[in-house]
């Protein structure tokens, strides 16, 4: 009993074996595609790129006249909505540094990779940047998930990551610098502010993922310490766009503040539908920790006017550095572009790294980490200082009210920069968090 179908099919393959081999060669060639020259940082460095690629095989990258740095954000997929702007700000900082003579006299050469809103891709691209391109530092990430995916890669390859977004804390990787806020620089002071304002009935609304869940865990502990209890806690799937039922639930719970940790697109739907339901900020204020100027553009300022937000930086923050930063950002990317907290954190992260490298006199990771301790920089949002141990930065906490032109008016700030405390060691009600986390 023969199987003519199969053997004929497979048999005819052999006559084409050579073709197949050629195909396989092609596959391997594609898989080894890294030999393509990396994207040059900006106009003047374009000619340097092929030269740098040529010396790539030599491990002593320090001897070349450029320093390679990586940028790894989602340029495609759902997260590109937020991440492209941070990518733009980091490129701006690099261009400025290059125009001013570079770092230690060397020009920065940027390798851009796309994380594609997919966490395993972030891990793959991080490994590529560290092992293939041998970049001195990577600026990147947005979601906690992308950071968690990259963390083991940076630790195993002893790389450096500057992560620019506020996050849920409870983490201190020796290979990551956290330039966004940790919980005690955003969520905890925001709850304190609300308590001082006499709010007692908190409704916690978030997207169903790690940042909102951990934030609400902390908020619940904090409320408990104040003798209160949240009147409701609700999570919706990422990308959820139908909030009428949630709004009914909120109405039924009758809170006096909604603490909003929704992510990205869901905010657009939530605020539009909240307003349509006839609920204004006067009836029921909300405070958001993931809605910045960039998101307000998509939500529509009139849909969120007078609602509160908590950040470390607003485009309206009144410092000379910020005036310069906003002007430069808009000059490069267009008059209608806005700046916001993660954009600013991405921007000054590049400068913090530059300062640390120049202090260390080398791009060696251990030396840079040592030199980074206590480094300060006059960022657009005020003075920032890298913490000696936990590699977060101290920064000023700000609470603002959204104006009807999409900008934010600061209504409260912490006065001085707040020192980062990712495990909330200095709060009695949070005792036990650190033990659990380690």
């Amino acid at each position: 009993m023969s199987v003519p179908y199969l053997s004929k099919a497979l048999g005819s393959l052999t006559s084409n074996t050579l073709k197949l081999l050629a195909g396989l060669g092609l596959i391997l060639a594609v898989a080894c595609g890294s030999e393509a020259p990396p994207a040059p940082a900006s106009a003047p460095q374009g000619s340097a790129a092929p030269a740098a690629a040529a010396v790539e095989s030599a491990p002593a990258a320090e001897e070349s006249d450029t320093i390679k740095v990586g940028i790894l954000h989602s340029l495609s997929g759902t997260m590109s909505i937020s991440e492209t702007a941070v990518h733009d700000a980091e490129l701006l900082a690099i261009d400025e540094i290059n125009a001013a003579g570079g770092v230690m006299g060397k020009q920065l050469e940027v390798v851009i990779e796309d994380g594609a809103s997919d966490w395993p891709t972030f891990a793959e691209k991080a490994r590529k940047l560290l092992q293939e391109d041998q970049v001195a530092v990577v600026f990147g990430g947005w979601t906690s998930a992308s950071r968690k995916a990259m963390l083991p890669v940076f630790e195993a390859n002893d790389g450096l990551l500057f992560y620019p977004v506020q996050y849920e804390g409870l983490e201190t990787s020796p290979n990551i610098f956290y330039t966004g806020a940790t919980t005690n620089q955003q969520i905890v002071p925001a709850v304190e502010y609300l308590l001082n304002e006499g709010k007692t009935k908190f409704y916690l609304l978030g997207s169903d993922y790690v940042f909102p869940r951990t934030s609400n865990l902390i908020i619940n502990k904090q409320l408990e310490a104040a003798g209160l209890e949240a009147v409701g806690e609700e999570y919706t799937p990422l990308g959820h766009t139908e909030y009428s039922t949630v709004i009914s639930k909120i109405r039924a719970a009758d809170p006096d503040i909604v603490f909003n940790t929704l992510n990205g697109d869901s905010n657009v739907a939530f605020f539009k539908q909240l307003r349509d339901a006839g609920i204004s900020a006067e009836d029921l204020p909300t405070i958001s920790v993931s809605v910045a100027e960039e998101e307000i553009t998509g939500i529509g300022a009139d849909n969120i006017t007078d609602h509160l937000v908590a950040w470390n930086y607003f485009q309206t923050t009144d410092t000379p550095e910020n005036a310069k930063f906003v002007q430069a950002f808009q000059a490069k990317y267009g008059e209608n572009r806005v700046t916001d907290d993660p954009i600013e954190a991405g921007y000054f992260g590049v400068y913090l790294w530059k300062a640390a490298v120049e202090k260390a006199g080398s791009t060696d990771v251990a030396a840079v980490k040592e030199a980074a301790k206590g480094i300060t920089f006059a960022a657009p949002g005020g003075m920032v200082t890298i913490h000696n141990e936990n590699q977060h930065v101290s920064k000023t906490v700000r609470i603002g009210k959204v104006r009807n032109d999409g900008q934010i008016d600061e209504i409260w700030n912490s006065g001085a920069p707040v020192s980062p405390d990712p495990y909330l060691d200095s709060y009695e009600w949070a005792s036990g968090l650190r033990e659990l986390a380690q």
């Binding site: 199987v3 081999l21 391997l28 898989a31 595609g33 340029l75 891990a123 691209k125 490994r127 083991p152």
Partner: protein, 380 residues
Amino acid sequence: MISRLSLPNAVKGLPLPSWLGDVASVWLAPILVLAALVAAPLLLSDFRVALLGKFLTFAILAMSLNLIWGYAGMLSLGHGVFFGLGGYAMAMFLKLESAGGKLPDFMFWSGLTELPFFWAPFQYAWIAIPMTFVVPAALAGGLGYLVFRSRITGVYFALITQALALIVSILFIGQQPYTGGTNGITNYTTIFGFAINSPTTQIVLYYATLATLALTYLLCAWLIASRFGRLLVAMRDDENRVRFSGYNPAALKTIVFALSAGIAGVAGALFTPQVGIISPTMMGIVPSIEIAIWVAVGGRGVLLGAIVGAILVNGAKSGLSESFPAIWQYFLGLLFIGAVLVFPSGIMGLLRGEGWRRPEWLAADRLPGFAARVLPGVKR
């Protein structure tokens, strides 16, 4: 082809392969591919080897889909789920090993104080590793039984498995205390006591993946050449005739669907330690559709096609996104369109000299059973 299948009833005893005589001619191409993959680590950097290792897990996954789509004619758009389940089973083992007896980090964030009961067995490799096959196979078997019993095929089957992908990924995201939520499970340090990120471990994992790929290939080749395999093809081409010949298509389909899901799970189990993370993004709708694209590009219904397709498409994806990070999705979109429009027989079809013709069975008027009955305007 079908006339040749008027064989005695039942699937009893898979016959001894009679193609042994053809060994040289049949096996030359796969052996050459294998040789190239064996030699690859000598030529490539550590990073590229790790990347290729990841692609090989995708190749196993693509083969599992090819088995049910290319041979049995059922397009599953939920294969990412089975891949993910295998990956999660492995990740649970790795996470528990790395946590060293303590509670994994994400559990305490979510307020758990002790290990959930269903996590406990996964600290043992002898349970966890078989589970990477058993869990997805069981899910597929259960779903398949329900679906095939109702004679749901073709487009319906594709869309139902797609809904499965959505449900499972939403569930995994929502059950953060037990699954790690959106972040998935990551940050493992060791595997069987060896540092998981060391180049040596990665090379070992690469060859383990390659060996699994080769074994899967052999298994599929044997299966397809057997009577069981020819029944699958017969079902693809005309389900009713198989039914009227006294076979039970639902049982056959359930078996092959479960087997395919199990293989996908094993691929996932190999993916997790090499990439260092498993997360619900792997189980969603998008990756599941991409798997189908790998198979379509490589060549449906050709064993080697799935391997070639998976490696080529993913190689192209990596290469393009490195060279054109901002616009590479254009190329990907065009590749998808081209794969079905311009060379529907895939790369293997081109190599076999079939030119631009599409395989006959892909036509809707050859759609089996239910779909052909329900789809209006389709005449048989």
